[in-house]
Structure formats: structure tokens, C-alpha cells
Symmetry: C2
Subunit: 219 residues, 2 copies
């Protein structure tokens, strides 16, 4: 990794922990292993480092297409899977979404930084909303809609059903961001949530619960 990227990386770490104003250019430089003035050969000023981070963030977010690709597989392309999904597969889907958001290193630091800095800049608030609210709702809504179409799930209102699926995941995520020690408990809660979600929305309980027959495909 070249110096410019190391600066961006260390700055992101520091900004996500302390916020922009509480991080000094000298702090970033120190972690990169250079002195503050050297840093100005790579960036015009402190703000330019921040801007580069946001640019990098937008680039990655776009790449991921709003967390559409979970666990390396493009769920849109694999739509067929979701038409015959089992409860266990639904749990895997939810856990993957959750753990990706929680553990992906860049994603986690971006989210923490956006959380801290969101009120300084309306664009950042918008980026947060898109990445952690609107895009996941839209994507999960599409998946759940497929399951409704194929008769796995049933509801009169897919939008609310999606809220019922994703809001608890979002809430557990904000809990774990703030208190990482609650992660184990959160994962158990997540599983119980999805099982109950499935019972509430399943077209027919028995069809779902006996989905064991077929070999499970990893979502």
C-alpha cells in the first residue's frame, strides 16, 4: 500500500474513533510513520484527506451496490434460491447481512465515522441513510418480495414485512457498534428474531419446518 493510501487508511481509523476535529494531522502522520509536514506532499490539507476518505467510501459502496452482494454471491442473480428458501437459509441470510455490516473492516469504520460526523454535513447524513437504511430495505424488500411471489411467505404489505425483518437487524447492529461485548447475545437474538419472523409470515408452518428434505444451499 502506498503512502497516500496508508494515510487514508489511518485517518479513517482515527476519524472513526475520535471524530474529525479531535484528530490532528500529526496523529495521522505518526501512525503512517512520517512527520506531519511530509503528509502535505500527499494531500493539500486535512480536509482533503477527509474528502479522499469519502470518495473511497462512495467508490466501495457503489462496488457493493448497497450491500447487495452478501457472502460473495449476487442474490439478484440467485433469485431462484430465495423462491424456495428454508427457515435455516433465512437465518443464514440475516446473519450474513448482520456480520458483514458488523465485521467488514472498512464498512465498520465508515459507519462509525458517518455516525459521528453526520450532523456536520448533510451529504454524510444522506450517505448513512442510503447505505444503512434505504438500500438494505430496498434489497431485502426485493428478496422477501420474491419469497412472497413464490408462496414461501405471505403478507398484504411487503414494505412493512421488510421493516419487520430489517429493523431488528439494524437495531442489533447499532447496539453492537456501541457495545461490542453484546455481540454474542445479539447473534442469539437475531436468530430468534428470524425464526419468529418466519413463523409469523410463513404461508404454512409445516411446509417451512419440513424443508429439511432438500440439501441446504448456502446463501
Amino acid at each position: 500500500m502506498d503512502t497516500r493510501h496508508r494515510i487514508i487508511d489511518e485517518a479513517l481509523t482515527l476519524f472513526s474513533e475520535k471524530g474529525y476535529a479531535n484528530v490532528f494531522v500529526a496523529d495521522i502522520a505518526e501512525r503512517v510513520g512520517i512527520k506531519a509536514p511530509s503528509l502535505y506532499k500527499h494531500f493539500k490539507n486535512k480536509q482533503a484527506i477527509f474528502d479522499a476518505i469519502i470518495e473511497e467510501m462512495n467508490r466501495r459502496f457503489l462496488e457493493e451496490a448497497g450491500a447487495l452482494r452478501i457472502n460473495g454471491s449476487d442474490a439478484v442473480a440467485d433469485a431462484e434460491i430465495y423462491k424456495h428458501i428454508s427457515e435455516e437459509q433465512l437465518i443464514i441470510l440475516g446473519k450474513n447481512l448482520f456480520l458483514y455490516f458488523l465485521h467488514d473492516d472498512y464498512t465498520r469504520r465508515f459507519r462509525k465515522m458517518l455516525t459521528i460526523e453526520q450532523f456536520h454535513d448533510k451529504e454524510l447524513a444522506a450517505a448513512y441513510m442510503k447505505q444503512y437504511v434505504d438500500d438494505p430495505l430496498s434489497y431485502q424488500g426485493m428478496l422477501l418480495g420474491l419469497m412472497v411471489s413464490s408462496g414461501v411467505l405471505q403478507t398484504e404489505n411487503v414494505e412493512i414485512m421488510t421493516l419487520h425483518f430489517y429493523a431488528p437487524i439494524y437495531m442489533l447492529l447499532t447496539i453492537c457498534d456501541r457495545e461490542p461485548k453484546r455481540e454474542a447475545k445479539a447473534l442469539k437474538t437475531l436468530e430468534a428474531h428470524i425464526r419468529q419472523f418466519n413463523r409469523l409470515y410463513a404461508r404454512d408452518e409445516k411446509t417451512i419446518k419440513t424443508a429439511k428434505k432438500k440439501p441446504r444451499r448456502n446463501v
Copy 2:
């Protein structure tokens, strides 16, 4: 309001909008209508203003007992109401909780400040969690538990049912904090959420939907 309290009030407004580090003592003084040095007759330093805000916040949070009292009525004392609650009353309960969190002036500013500053101080993260996660879940869980006991709702797992009730409210709240223009839409979503929640968990749809007979008591 004396000068000391006006300083706390204006500082809270500014901290909640820009974060501690981005607010200068002179900014606070200006809004109070004095010069910065005069402010030091009331507080030892900038940090002392922040500490006083936290103290005031804790005092108010304690007073409200974790938002237990919604709309002026102590729900614990009025437990009887919840044993025979109708869907409309459940909607009112949810909306009151939501609008109280969203519109109470102090609550809103405290929450925004905690959101920005939570990663600077573990105590602040803990305060946020207690006020906006754990206490509401505990209180709503108690209410919903009453409804299960009395047979209005049914579930095998009250904890998850409570998560299904509150997580969407929490998520809509974080949406409105960041983009207030989405409030009208959020209120409609909230209502649809509670109606669907009620349908999913109601012991018997018809009993709930015909609860009109009795005059509605405002929760």
C-alpha cells in the same frame, strides 16, 4: 432562566448540532448574550459546561424513568388499560412513544448530542443505550407482556415480540433525526407497522378489530 442555565441550554443546542469540539466557548457566550470571559464566572472551563449538561440529562432521564410515562400518564399504574387494548389504542401508544422521543426538545437535543459524542466516552454510549434501547425495550416488553397475559396478544417469546414492536419505531426515529422531512412518511409507516404487528400477534383478529364497542381510552 438564570445565566448558568441559559449557558447550559445554548451549549446543548450547539453541541447537538455540531459536536463538542466544533463549538467554541465564544459561540456559546454569544448566544447567551455575553462575552466569552464572562462565561468563566459561571463555569470553570468548557468541559465543565459539558459535564453540567450530562448531569442535567441524567437528572431528566431519571425523572422520566426511561420514558416510562407517555403522554403524562403512568402506564404501569394504568396497567388495566393495556389488558383490554384495541388496535387503535396500540397505534396511539406507539405514536406517542415516537413523537415524544422525536419532539421533546430536550430529549431530541440530548439524543443528537449522544449520537455524535458516544464514541468519545463509554459512559455516553452507555447512557444512549439505556435511554433509547434497553429502557424502552424493558418498558414496552412489560406492557406487551400484560397484553399477552390477558390474552389480547399471543406469542411464545415476548422478548422478540417486543423487538418486533420497538425496533421499527427506533429505526424510524433515527431516520427522522437525520432527515426531518421524512417525518410525515415515517408516521404513516409507523401506523402501518403497528397494524401489521397487531394482526401478526393478535390472539384472534376479529376480537381485536371489533373493539370499537367500548369507548376508547386515551393511552
